[in-house]
């Protein structure tokens, strides 16, 4: 199942100006986080009794989960439907999903009033099966475990001779190598390798099932508040719409990330994989469009489309520019073959079509009956969200530098073995 020879650690210096920028943003966010833990949520957020949920839920949690959909959609494509051609993109997508879900958990540690009780859903005595949030919590916990397990073979492969330790980690090279030469260590690695080789197919399917379950349950969260959510988004089939848009965002997210990474690391975009992948997108986005429009028509909610409200404008931005526009653009073969065109389309759907959709559902559409004004995130909330995303990108950068995640650039295959 694994195409080991194709992936290699990134051979670039770790400390680039971009990395320093990320570290700066993370430091700012950390400052606000410290303030939040000392003085409470009210001290640095604009959350209140009217607006209990803000961007930490809309962006960090809901969008974090949605944008991690690349993980299960690519692993389904490559491992379940055995489209061998796409193997090279599975690992980066898996890493993104793993980090994405980890940061959903971390963001909750900031958002939850009693963050130290985050483990409570594990206790059977507290299980509350009627709650959509319970389902989300259980599935996310299980899926995060599955993602870590799915990642183990990559770690094993690294330990078996593909480990890269860029400065300042290179000081560890000596001890790590001598440890890896120990007989018992090699035995454990070998055993784990065989074990995971055998159970991997179970994990892959479990990952897809768990993803389908909580991606949809996430859409059910707001279904309990029919009087508070704007009718452009509130729908009895929100569950289905969330699942469909998450499935549809999987490949655009992978493309977005892959082209971005290629540019950042000075490589050629892998168009020979991405163009065929992009060909699949219109099917999924198209299905979502049909569902979304039918929903608006059946509920007669389209009347709110042009009422000039802030909500209606956000909807047009989301659906018009984030869903319909990339859908039609991606029908063109020329767009799919152009790295820039493909990147723009993928970015539109990722950022406007799904990220903005989740923000709209959880924040923009939320109108409490006794609202004294709109909710606007505070600087602290934004800073912490930015810091979370920065940490995620930094972790990605560090992990792809150490472990064989990214596909080897052309002509470099095999050259690494000598170094390790």
């Amino acid at each position: 199942m694994s195409h080991a020879e194709e992936a290699l650690p990134l051979e670039k210096p770790l400390f680039t100006p971009g990395v320093f920028l990320l570290l700066g943003l993370i430091t700012i966010g950390l400052g606000f986080a410290v303030y939040r833990y000392i003085f409470g949520l009210g001290s640095m957020t604009n959350l209140n009794d009217q607006y209990p949920w803000g961007i930490w839920i809309g962006v960090d949690v809901a969008s974090g989960v949605a944008l991690a959909a690349g993980g299960f959609t690519t692993s389904a494509l490559a491992h379940i439907f055995h489209r061998e051609h796409f193997h090279a993109i599975v690992r980066p997508a898996l890493l993104t999903a793993m980090l994405g879900y980890t940061f959903v958990g971390l963001s909750l540690m900031v958002d939850l009033g009693k963050y130290y009780n985050i483990w409570h859903p594990i206790l059977p005595s507290m299980w509350q099966g009627n709650s959509a949030l319970f389902e989300v919590a259980m599935c996310v916990m299980c899926y995060l475990t599955v993602l870590y397990l799915e990642f183990v073979p990559i770690l094993i492969e690294g330990l078996k001779g593909k480990l890269n330790l860029p400065a300042p980690l290179d000081r560890l090279r000596g001890p790590v190598e001598s440890l890896l030469k120990q007989g018992w260590v090699q035995q454990i690695v070998e055993l784990a390798d065989r074990f995971f080789g055998k159970i991997m197919f179970l994990l892959v399917i479990a990952g897809v099932v768990l993803s389908c379950m909580h991606q949809s349950s996430l859409g059910a969260l707001m279904a309990i508040a029919p009087y508070k959510v704007h009718p452009l988004w509130y729908s009895p089939v929100m569950t289905l719409l969330f699942l469909m848009s998450a499935v549809a965002v999987g490949y655009p997210m992978v493309i977005f990330e892959s082209i971005w990474a290629s540019r950042a690391f000075g490589r050629k975009p892998e168009m020979e994989i991405l163009t065929p992948l992009a060909k699949l997108i219109p099917f999924f986005v198209g299905a979502y469009i049909v569902a979304k429009i039918s929903d608006l028509v059946i509920r007669d909610a389209y009347v709110y489309l042009f009422d000039g409200s802030f909500q209606s404008m956000m909807f047009v931005l989301e659906f018009g520019f984030g869903v319909l526009l990339p859908f039609f653009l991606l029908l063109s073969d020329r767009v799919r073959r152009s790295p820039t065109g493909l990147f723009i389309c993928a970015a539109l759907y990722v950022i406007l079509g799904v990220l903005l959709n989740r923000i709209n559902v959880f924040v923009v559409a939320y109108k409490p009956p006794y609202a004294e004004g709109p909710y606007i995130p505070s600087i602290g909330e934004v800073a912490i969200t930015v810091a979370m995303i920065s940490t995620l990108i930094l972790c990605y950068r560090v992990i792809v530098s150490i472990l064989p995640v990214l596909p080897a650039p052309e002509g470099e295959e095999g050259s690494h073995a000598a170094k390790a």
């Binding site: 949520l41 009033g113 399917i205 508070k228």
Partner: protein, 295 residues
């Protein structure tokens, strides 16, 4: 007066004997089918309220919330803005314009409605909320994670949060004076102090009857609508009024419980885990088929 408060209280004890004798006999009623026919109710007749706000003071005292002395509750300037219950006040009284042609304003007390199909109970993922047999919605701060989904779910926007408590913030709302009523056998503090008998405490079923009688007796005084009888499936707190409730700051809600959609979907998916298992098997089959083709 057809129904005397004391009588009603006795009735509540006689009828709801089981609930009161054993207050720990909890029944999850979020799916509705376990609602006790003798569960508590409170009838608020807004036509009687004079806006003295003694109930606000009594509530704070009962629940040990920070409070000014009773004398300061005569201050009517608070009525200039619409107030909401918050983490330090479980109930507030607001003033609204009265019926057309009459000069007198209408005062409306708000607090947790103690729904029959409570959204907070259904929403809470760790079961920190519970509708106990007597009908009161109880909150267990120890279970709570502070996710505030209950606040998102509540159609009345009632649960309030201690946003400025950094270590042990909890959700705050009216308890229906559960301990006071079931252990001390007293009325809820607000009803007890009310000088004008605005509130009548008793079995919800009896209160509905009483409310209908009042409307029938004085059809010119009351609008023919008992707020809370059917709203979101019914609430323990019931309101009578001389003007439409939409003009009194109470949300206009349908009869369907807000929990219904999610609970139906959740149950459909997780009753016997059929859909996840079916999906798992389907994907397994797909994997197998495609592997065959490849080799």
């Amino acid at each position: 007066m057809a129904i005397n408060r004391r009588d009603l209280f006795k009735l509540a004890f006689a009828g709801g004997g089981a609930a009161l004798a054993n207050p720990s006999a909890h029944a999850r009623a979020s799916s509705g089918h376990e609602l006790d026919p003798d569960r508590w109710g409170m009838l608020v007749d807004t036509t009687r309220c004079i806006g003295c706000r003694h109930c606000e003071w009594a509530c704070k005292k009962q629940n040990e919330l920070p409070s000014a002395p009773l004398t300061q509750f005569g201050d009517t300037s608070v009525f200039e803005t619409l107030r909401r219950p918050d983490a330090t006040s479980y109930t507030v009284v607001n003033r609204f314009a009265g019926p057309e042609g009459e000069g007198s304003p209408v005062y409306v007390k708000v607090q947790c409605m103690h729904c029959d199909y409570p959204a907070c109970v259904s929403a809470c993922l760790v079961g920190a909320f519970e509708k106990v047999k007597s009908g009161s919605i109880q909150y267990d701060a120890w279970k709570c994670m502070g996710c505030r989904y209950c606040m998102v779910a509540c159609p009345f926007q009632v649960p309030a949060y201690e946003y400025f408590n950094a270590l042990t913030p909890v959700v705050r709302k009216c308890t229906f004076c559960f301990e006071r009523v079931s252990k001390e056998e007293k009325f809820p503090a607000c009803a007890h102090i009310c000088p004008n008998e605005v509130m009548t405490f008793g079995r919800r079923a009896d209160l509905l009857k009483a409310a209908r009688e009042r409307i029938a007796r004085e059809p010119k005084k009351y609008i023919p609508h008992i707020y809370g009888e059917h709203e979101v499936g019914g609430t323990a707190w019931l309101y009578l009024s001389s003007v439409p409730f939409g003009e009194l700051g109470l949300p206009v809600l349908g009869h369907t419980p807000v929990v219904q959609l999610n609970e139906t979907v959740q149950h459909a998916i997780f009753k016997h885990f059929v859909p996840p298992i079916a999906l798992y098997s389907f994907l397994g089959a797909m994997m197998w088929m495609h592997r065959d083709k490849k080799e």
